[in-house]
Amino acid sequence: MEAGSATVIMVQFAIFARSLETGRGVEIDVTETIASTRFETVIGLEVHAQVLTKSKMYCSCSAEYASAEPNTHVCHVCMGLPGALPVINREAIELCVLTGLALDCTIAPFSKLDRKNYVYPDLPKGYQVSQYDLPLCQNGTLVFESNGEPVTAGITRVHIEEDTGRLLHRTASDGSDISLVDLNRSGVPLMEIVGEPDLRSPEHARDYLIALRQILRYIGASTGNMEEGAFRCDANVSLREAGSTEFGAKVEIKNMNSFRAVERALRYEVERQQGVLEAGGTIEQETRGWVDARGVTVGQRTKEAAHDYRYFPEPDLPPLALGADIVERIAARLPELPAARRARFVEAFGLGEPEAAILTGERETADYFESVCESAPAEGRSRLAANWILNDLFGLQRERGLPPDRMPVSADQLAGLLDMLEADQISARAAKELLAQLGPGETAIDKARSLNLLPLDDDDAIRTAALETIEAFPAAADDYRNGKKAAIGRLLGETIKRTGGRARPDAARAILEELLNSPS
């Protein structure tokens, strides 16, 4: 298509993998993207992820800030009292390096921390201890899938820093605006993951974030919880003439608090910039905030001289020299990453791509599936396990309001249930009831027994039911004896019914045939 030709409307049917955010159900999202052939979209994302440690970055206060009473996880270090001496949390450094390794970064053999100075009430020291010119990790890549196509995006850097406190806004009795400062979050370890401007659409941005979050959860570096603010994203968006290699003026978008919001905000912003450019205007470099309720981005009043951070080396913290031995030891913590695991699930268990993607969505689910399969490596177990997890366990998980990484029964329990199914010890219907009733610590077989869900192995009891049936339906019995063999169906159904549904059909049939064929 010619450059500069009319705007075309592309309708995109994006499968919105909300699974990673809310559970798993895949939701079909029909969205319209107005794509211009004249401009190319250029997006780069900057992610802040809280690092999953027990204590804070530079002091031993608990990093669990969300559930605590305000200002109860605070000490002289994280409230910035003069003379306090910070000490680096080694685990936070390791998790940051682990993230870098998972993103194929180069780990800096020599790194340091720097003070980033600015004044704001949620920053008690007046500076944030961050990293400036020598970040822990640099030059990585993130390969992810978008609309079924693999996309490779560069990772500029991953560095370690600390979170700020939180401000709660109130109106004072005299009507003035006041803010309450809670420092529980102050000093919680934070990673900044800066991506190259390699993303070409809002869908790319969404899928990049989903893939990144999944990796962070797999390696245990962050909860990735966007709603709780443990995973935050800012985006730089610009447009350029198709074919151009230079970047246009970029606009920074903030306040996007869900994957959905990121996609909507970016789509809005791309269209806004397109409109301005097509009308002959110019894009101003600025910061805009996403207003979710209104579905628009609005220019933010920039704090004056906000970019004058006067970084300098943090004198209280000696530098980090991560030799090959240290990095190797950290690398040993790397689990199989989601993409590799997904591919292996397809290969080793004969699963379809979408099934493998869902089963590897959470590391815990993938572990669970594998553990259920390992317990009986027989042919067919993986298929059966996949079906039960995807259909029954996820349903039960949703029903019970469990988080996506927690299953309603243990892997051993499910394995026990599948063992019974495979050995034809229980009917599929009874197995579903068993699953719903199975409590913690109970084995599938014991529970099935106590719920009377096991097939009746008592031939005498079946014989009694069969005799009763023959007596109750003499016509059908005569039909059978006179050669209408199909008449046994009626008698069989009735016999099974009289055992409470527990008689095995083949056993009941054998007994019925024996009774009917023997001279009465």
Binding site: H48, T53, K54, S55, S60, C61, S62, E69, P70, N71, T72, H73, V74, C75, H76, M79, V87, I88, N89, R90, E91, A92, I93, K112, K116, Y118, V119, Y120, P121, L123, T164, L167, L168, H169, D177, I178, S179, L180, V181, L183, L190, D234, K254, G289, Q300, R301, K303, E304, A305, A306, D308, R310, P313, P315, L317, P318, P319, L320, A321, L322
Partner: protein, 101 residues
Amino acid sequence: MELTLDEVRHVAALARLGLTDAEQELMRDQLSSILGHINALNELDTESIPPTASVAALQNVWRDDTVQSSLPREQVLMNAPRQNEGCFEVDTPLGGEESSS
């Protein structure tokens, strides 16, 4: 090493300090004098000394990720000019949102 008044005003704005004209003059003199003092380092021949960000011969000083008790909240807040709901109370800053980090 003489600072300009514009530089003084810029630094004051970054620190959110409102200075009177007289204070700006005073700060210019004092900051210039401090910078002049430090500027004396530029007279040294550092040709053979490698640049460094840290003068202590230490590296990898870190601690295990264990939680220890924090301060009692009364102590955390004891010097706060205004407190409210167990928090420090301040006038809402420009924009009101959280600072970016």
